[in-house]
């Protein structure tokens, strides 16, 4: 169930802090990403804001609770609500994470890493296929930021992700900051990660900030995008070409203009790195 890469441009996340601005004016960016679970409730302000934004620019739904790697069955309630939201919003893309997060009926509300084994690969492949069949569209999975690995792993994360896309037809939401954070936390070469991801499977990039905790980097989304992540973004553009980008900022969220400025910086860097595909509008 592959899909061609969409030319969405550069977007930001839809956050409660900025709801009033989004209700009062058109978005200042090319597209908007909404955290799926925050908009599943049938009423109230969030879904009203999302529908207003959706009428103005493309929207991508980005989930955090699908738990594609959990051994628990995916709850029917979740799939039903996800399907209903997808029908209601008609998003440009639907994404979630390569992770697990439920066990024995309990939600752990985290993007927990998987052991990269053949057992995990077969398990996740079958679940991706089931979800794509249910939604009738391609699912994109985001590489997580990780702090621990497993002794049983027999392949790298990028090998796992590449093979998963081949077997299931899913796309990749390549989080450049997560590659940077995990590379630091595990000591691998982030460029090797980029080289391991199939070019034609990357649907969009995430860009975000992180925190230096001394012994490790934490994927905190509470800063502007750091220089190191911008540098890795340049490398990603050189490998993957023109790819939509999305700036995430989830904690200590600044005024809207500051987040938008990060998105415009992503657009400017894209133009610097890929001048031959500069957009007509620029």
């Amino acid at each position: 169930m592959t899909s061609p890469r969409l030319d969405l441009g550069h977007g930001i996340g839809l956050r409660t802090t900025h709801f009033a601005r989004f209700m009062a004016e058109a978005p200042l960016v090319d597209w908007i990403e909404a955290v799926t679970e925050n908009f599943m409730a049938p009423g109230g302000r969030p879904i009203a804001v999302l529908e207003k934004v959706r009428a103005e620019v493309p929207v991508v739904l980005h989930g955090v609770s699908l738990a594609i790697g959990s051994v628990d069955p995916i709850p029917e309630r979740y799939l039903a609500e996800l399907s209903a939201l997808v029908r209601r919003v008609e998003p440009a893309l639907v994404s979630d994470h390569l992770c697990w997060g439920t066990h024995r009926g309990q939600y752990l509300h985290d993007l927990l890493p998987l052991p990269y084994t053949e057992e995990s690969l077969a398990h996740v492949t079958s679940r991706v296929q089931a979800v794509q069949e249910r939604l009738g569209r391609q699912l994109l999975l985001e590489n997580p930021s990780s702090y621990v690995a497993f002794k049983d792993s027999t392949m790298t994360e990028w090998e796992f992700l590449a093979e998963l896309t081949r077997r299931s037809g899913c796309g990749v939401l390549l989080d450049v900051n997560n590659v940077y954070v995990s590379a630091h936390n595990f000591g691998f070469d982030p460029l090797e990660y980029l080289r391991g991801i199939p070019v034609d499977r990357v649907g969009y990039f995430h860009l975000a900030g992180h925190s230096d905790k001394g012994k490790y980097l934490l994927d905190s989304h509470d800063h502007a995008v750091p220089v190191g992540v911008w540098d890795l973004y340049r490398e990603a553009l050189r490998r993957f070409g023109r790819v939509p980008s999305l700036v995430e900022w989830d904690d200590a969220i600044p005024p809207l203009e500051e987040v938008v400025a990060e998105s415009r910086r992503a657009a400017a860097i894209e133009t610097e790195e890929l001048p031959q595909v500069r957009r007509l509008a620029s």
Binding site: E37, M40, P42, S65, V71, Q106, Y107, L112, P115
Partner: protein
């Protein structure tokens, strides 16, 4: 280890009140000399607790103001061990907190369960499905027969709570940053509703709450109005209540009620 065994161990690391033995962690997880596996999984355990306590703090801001951050975090820890999250929306994790506070009450502040119930209802109402209120003229001109046949559909964004203490003044004082009064045993109903994107609540007379319950049950207008029979002027009281329900947008449809019974009558 199988994938299921790995996830069971990881879940235990995150949620157990007893630390998992380091050798079990080292058998499964890979660490480095500068950051051993035990410290690496602890990053996740800390984030698990932080994320869920933050979700509870967002849902119960005035309970947090009353208890203070540290005491609330302790309460949240006790609560989460008994009621872990079972919903994909982390905002739903506080669903059982009021019941938990009733089961394990603070002897000096038994009203905290009511405060939690009020704050939970405010969240539920905020996210309730939308429904367009009917206009204020919709009940005008109904004759006696129509009143005995007509029922009301109330907004899904309206809840009626029956609280054991006066939680609404406590909520108000905390919201305004004022010190709380002593608990006040004052059982009574409270309406919680959404208008536009704003949530409101207000204490209700018992008979008006009974009338709303009758409406929610699908009873006829005649039965709804009968809830005010003990008033000095029942018809005026019923008319006043129905008018205020219309004004607040609590009525979203007027339609056929139950079969006519001999007890139905004009109001």
């Amino acid at each position: 280890m199988t994938l299921a065994e790995t996830q069971a161990l990881f879940q235990e690391v995150l949620t157990s009140s007893v630390p998992v033995a380091p050798e079990r962690i080292d058998a499964c997880f890979a660490g480095t000399p500068d950051l051993p596996a035990v410290e690496r999984v602890a990053i996740y355990a800390d984030m698990y607790r932080w994320r869920l306590v933050e979700a509870l703090r967002e849902t119960f801001p005035n309970l947090v103001r009353f208890l203070g951050d540290e005491t609330f975090a302790g309460l949240a820890g006790d609560y989460l061990r008994r009621h872990p999250s079972e919903h994909h929306d982390v905002g739903q994790v506080g669903r059982h907190l009021a019941a938990f506070l009733r089961e394990f009450p603070d002897p000096e502040r038994p009203d905290l369960a009511d405060l939690a119930e009020l704050e939970w209802a405010r969240q539920e109402v905020f996210f309730a499905p939308p429904a367009e209120p009917v206009g204020s003229a919709v009940l005008a001109g109904l004759d006696a027969e129509a009143i005995s046949r007509t029922g009301l559909v109330l907004s899904p964004a309206l809840q009626v709570l029956v609280l054991a203490h006066a939680a609404t003044p406590l909520w108000r004082r905390l919201e305004d940053g004022e010190p709380p009064d002593p608990p006040s045993p004052d059982p009574g109903p409270v309406a919680v509703w959404r208008s536009g994107f704003d949530v409101f609540h207000a204490a209700l007379p018992h008979d008006e709450a009974a009338a709303l319950e009758a409406a929610r049950s699908g009873d006829s207008l005649a039965t709804i109005c009968a809830a005010f029979d003990d008033r000095e002027d029942p018809a005026t009281a019923a008319h006043g209540a129905l008018s205020s329900w219309l004004d607040e947008g609590w009525i979203v449809s007027v339609g056929p009620g139950p079969p006519v019974s001999s007890s139905d009558r004009e109001c």
